[in-house]
């Protein structure tokens, strides 16, 4: 924390979050906690096949079951012909609509085919079993390397690559300089290929919603999402209901990490509610979450990096194949764009391929695509450092991107804090701590773009002189606390007098998704501008009360004061005093701002990881972990640290224990928390954090955004540590015990 924060009263302080008491007492209302009078339950019928044509669906028996109030299929949603793109943010409604309810084809086991609403969950489930679907089963393919083979089953005949039907749905390329010339000049070149498996965001709260539609067609949606405006827009697209007639209310959300930036249930519930005339509640089971929501891509990457013998990287090439699942849209932007971003490399060629296959469609997962690309690059850098006989952090420092560096993805960096993270790592006691037997230490860096985007806020002064702030972004990490800090700071009042609420689509202006590490960045901007307008109003009211010019009034420490002695000797007026006179001095005091915020700058992090490996069992345990990141400005340090720690532990799970396992019928074999192994409390040590603040010059408080960078370095940090503990490099994840043991004893695999 730098010295500037000493002058702040609330910014940088560890205040209690406004929604905290509700969360620790069980009062906070999440989507599944909701109920409406007359509510019935919705359930989805899902495909058992990885790939099949739907020949017919007969719902008659289901409709006849007592207690069933409505049945729907894909035909009840608006159709989006595949010829016409319909973009919505980074999604396309052609794919969203088919993902939410299959039309002519099912493309993964779990793909929704129909839905039922009935007076109890049990009846709805029974009714689903009575729906008769005739399938023509087709050959299927899941793994990304299998999906790009020339003889692979093709998912969509409208997808062509280089003129031929293909499962490669898209390509993204970044070029800088001339890589061939660069490699020709290199003294040392390392080229390696890497494989990762699909992993799930792992939010503990399953998707849920309660939806009602009144007789005049006005809809209310109460749901768990990372964006109520996205919910409204997608539902409007899919049902034809005008957006003004849809009120999407964000419940408290029990984790998202990107997985709730799209929807699965709400349009289905809307149709069922409209047909039945009753409010409909739907909640996914944990199994449905694992089978039919959006884990991130499995991948196959090849990275080649060349350096001259002084350690200067002269060329870098990366090819990243990412699994999209049933429809196009894997995060190749993150893989191709972020992987080389921490480095100043004159010649770069980075290519991403978007590959469809018969598993559920990906949704975003925290810095989508970037961990996959960074895994490959940061491991190759580790081998390069070793070949050059350089310390791995020294190699990074020597090639660190700085202000003015041009990144392959197109940006020229302004002032950034990457070097600072590397230096901090080198100087951290962790880096010098002694290691025990079977232990090893690895490092890695990472980058994420961060985002700005649309945001709206309302700041209103209550008649008793307190503050209500309404913002538009669901709070997934404690952002309300940061907003309270900023508002209190600007107004010069105690932060407990600021109440921060999340508005719904009817009560706050358009605000883009909670994601992209942007909530604090974007909402702080609009809250700051709104609060500055409010301060202007407060000065005007004081001026009116005193009979002087508003220019002669200043706002300081929560009070209006005359700006100088010749303005007049008036005792200061507090916020409460001015608020009490609001109606006599001009009316309510408040202001709102709606903006497309810009100026977001990328974030950089460097991690240090110590592991201990049991050479007889192949078990790897992380015994020490340090996260160092430039966040611009930590408005609320505890929640900034929380993002760093949470992302790091997700990355550790990705590196060591998490993966989707498929059976020989193409079905997910581990669709539960028992066998989809996320880190538990006893698996990880304390995660130390170092917050670097190189303020973003384009933001009023210097915020860069923190949430996503922390998941980018761990895959390589852990892999590099395992190498140093065992002498073996791993080129695929997860490094589960059987795979580690096999690598440690290749020659003596004991037979039964």
């Amino acid at each position: 924390m730098n010295d500037e924060t000493m002058q702040y009263r609330w910014i940088g302080k560890r205040t209690i979050r406004p929604d905290g008491v509700d969360k620790v007492t069980g009062r906070a209302a999440y989507a599944a906690d909701g109920a409406m009078p007359g509510m019935i339950w919705g359930k989805i019928l899902r495909s058992p096949h990885p790939h099949a044509r739907i020949k017919s669906i007969n719902t008659a028996k289901a409709e006849a079951l007592p207690g069933v109030k409505a049945v729907m299929t894909g035909k009840d949603l608006v159709e989006f012909p595949v010829e016409t793109p319909v973009p919505l943010g980074i999604q396309d409604m052609r794919w969203m609509s088919r993902n939410i309810m299959a039309r002519d084809k099912v493309l993964f086991p779990g793909h929704p085919v129909a839905a039922v609403a009935a007076t109890s969950q049990r009846i709805a489930e029974e009714a689903c079993k009575l729906i008769e679907v005739e399938y023509e089963v087709l050959p299927w393919v899941i793994d990304v390397e299998d999906a790009i083979k020339p003889d692979a089953p093709i998912l969509h005949d409208f997808i062509k690559f280089e003129g031929k039907p293909s499962n490669i749905a898209g390509k993204l390329e970044h070029k800088l300089g001339d890589v061939e010339a660069g490699f020709a000049a290199a003294d040392v070149i390392i080229e390696r290929s890497f494989r990762t498996k699909p992993v799930h965001q792992g939010y503990i709260e399953p998707h849920a919603c309660v939806v009602s539609v009144s007789s005049d067609g006005k809809a209310t949606i109460w749901s768990s999402s990372q964006g109520q405006f996205m919910v409204r827009a997608m539902c409007a697209y899919l049902t034809g209901i005008p957006q003004s007639d849809i009120r999407a209310i964000p419940a408290e959300i029990g984790g998202g990490f990107g997985g709730k930036t799209i929807i699965y249930l709400e349009p289905v519930a809307l149709v069922l509610a409209r047909k039945s005339g009753r409010p409909v509640k739907m909640q996914m089971t944990r199994e449905e979450v694992f089978r039919a929501t959006g884990p991130t891509s499995g991948s196959f990457s090849t990275v080649k990096i060349g350096a001259t013998k002084d350690g200067k990287i002269v060329a870098a090439k990366g090819t990243f194949y990412l699994q999209a699942g049933a429809f196009p849209g894997s995060p190749i932007r993150g893989a191709a764009g972020c992987s080389f971003a921490p480095y100043d490399i004159p010649n770069v060629h980075s290519v991403g391929y978007d590959v469809v296959s018969n598993r559920s469609k990906v949704a975003a997962y925290r810095a989508p695509g970037a961990p996959i690309g960074a895994y490959a690059v940061e491991c190759v850098l580790d081998e390069l450092a070793e070949a050059l006989k350089m310390d791995p952090l020294e190699l990074r420092l020597k090639n660190a991107a700085k202000e003015g560096t041009k990144a392959a993805y197109g940006a020229t960096y302004p002032r950034i804090g990457y070097e600072e993270t590397v230096r901090a790592a080198m100087e951290h006691p962790h880096y010098r701590a002694p290691l025990g037997p079977n232990q090893g230490r690895g490092v890695a860096s990472g980058f994420w773009f961060n985002a700005g985007g649309e945001s709206s806020a309302q700041v209103n002064i209550t008649e008793d002189g307190n503050v209500v702030v309404i913002t538009g972004h669901p709070d997934i990490g404690g952002s309300r606390a940061s907003i309270a800090n900023i508002t209190a700071e600007l107004l010069g009042i105690d932060y407990r007098r600021v109440n921060v609420l999340i508005g719904d689509t009817s009560t706050i202006g358009f605000s883009n998704l909670t994601g992209g590490s942007r909530v604090t960045f974007a909402s702080a901007m609009v809250v700051t501008q709104s609060t500055e307008k409010v301060i202007t109003q407060l000065r005007e009211r004081a001026a009116k009360i005193w009979g002087i010019d508003p220019e002669a009034v200043k706002w300081e420490n929560g009070e209006a004061r005359p700006a100088g002695d010749n303005a007049g000797k008036f005792p200061p007026l507090s916020l409460a005093e001015i608020a009490a006179k609001a109606s006599q001095t001009g009316g309510p005091i408040g202001a709102g701002v709606q903006l497309n915020t810009t100026g977001a700058e990328g974030g950089f992090g460097t991690h240090i990881c110590d592991v201990e490996v049991d050479p007889q069992t192949g078990i790897v345990r992380v015994v020490r972990y340090t996260v160092i990141q430039d966040v611009g400005r930590a408005i609320h340090p505890s929640y900034v640290e929380g993002q760093m720690q949470g992302g790091a532990v997700q990355g550790i799970g990705w590196a060591l224990s998490e993966e989707y396992v498929y059976d020989r019928n193409g079905k997910v074999d581990n669709a539960g928390f028992l066998d989809y192994r996320m880190p538990v409390c006893s698996d990880v040590p304390m995660v130390d954090t170092v917050i670097i603040e190189v303020p973003n010059p384009k933001h009023p408080q210097g915020v860069r955004g923190v949430g996503e960078v922390p998941i980018v370095p761990p895959l390589a940090a852990v892999s590099n540590a395992v190498y140093r503990a065992t002498g073996r490099r791993f080129y695929s994840l997860p490094m589960s015990p059987p795979r580690v043991l096999e690598a440690l004893e290749p020659a003596t695999a004991e037979a039964a």
Partner: protein
């Protein structure tokens, strides 16, 4: 199917409810009694979000039939604060920012309270292993463990 009439105690209050023989305690708490603080994360005992105590014993309410509550004493998150006085664990969770999305928090608080009720001076390792059945995806567990250890210290001090 005939419903069962169950008489039990929840957070010290006498409670009666009707339930199906196959309804879980979790379903009855949430859907019949509208005590929605206890959460469903998985329904199969693998995440701990549904943690409650039964006669002081920490269990997953998704793995208990509501009928088994007959004559027992059930403790949920709603019973942890005393009116507007938060339990030290609840206060420490807020001070340490030991929650982000908060969905796992009720289960973890109930579990942590059960730990401190039986072991007022746990080590970090003992805390971690006790809470291994409570998944958290947001925090990486660091601040949770710190909050529990801090609450334990405060409670030991207050007991002296």
């Amino acid at each position: 199917m005939a419903k069962l009439h169950i008489t039990t105690t929840i957070n010290g209050e006498p409670v009666e409810f009707l339930c199906d023989p196959t309804q879980s305690m979790l379903d009855v708490l949430r859907d019949e009694l509208r005590l929605t603080g206890t959460k469903e994360g998985c329904g199969s005992g693998d995440c701990g979000a549904c943690s409650i105590t039964v006669d002081g014993r920490l269990v997953c309410s998704c793995l208990m039939l509501a009928a088994e509550a007959e004559g027992r004493s059930i403790g949920t998150i709603e019973g942890m604060a005393q009116g507007d006085r938060l339990h030290p664990l609840q206060r420490k969770f807020l001070e340490h920012a030991a929650l982000q999305c908060g969905i796992c928090t009720p289960g973890i608080l109930v579990a942590a309270k059960a730990l401190l009720d039986s072991n007022p001076d746990p080590t970090e390792t003992e805390v971690r292993y006790w809470l291994a059945g409570n998944l958290c995806r947001c925090t990486g567990y660091d601040k949770i463990v710190r909050a529990v250890l801090d609450a334990a210290a405060e409670m030991r001090e207050a007991a002296r």
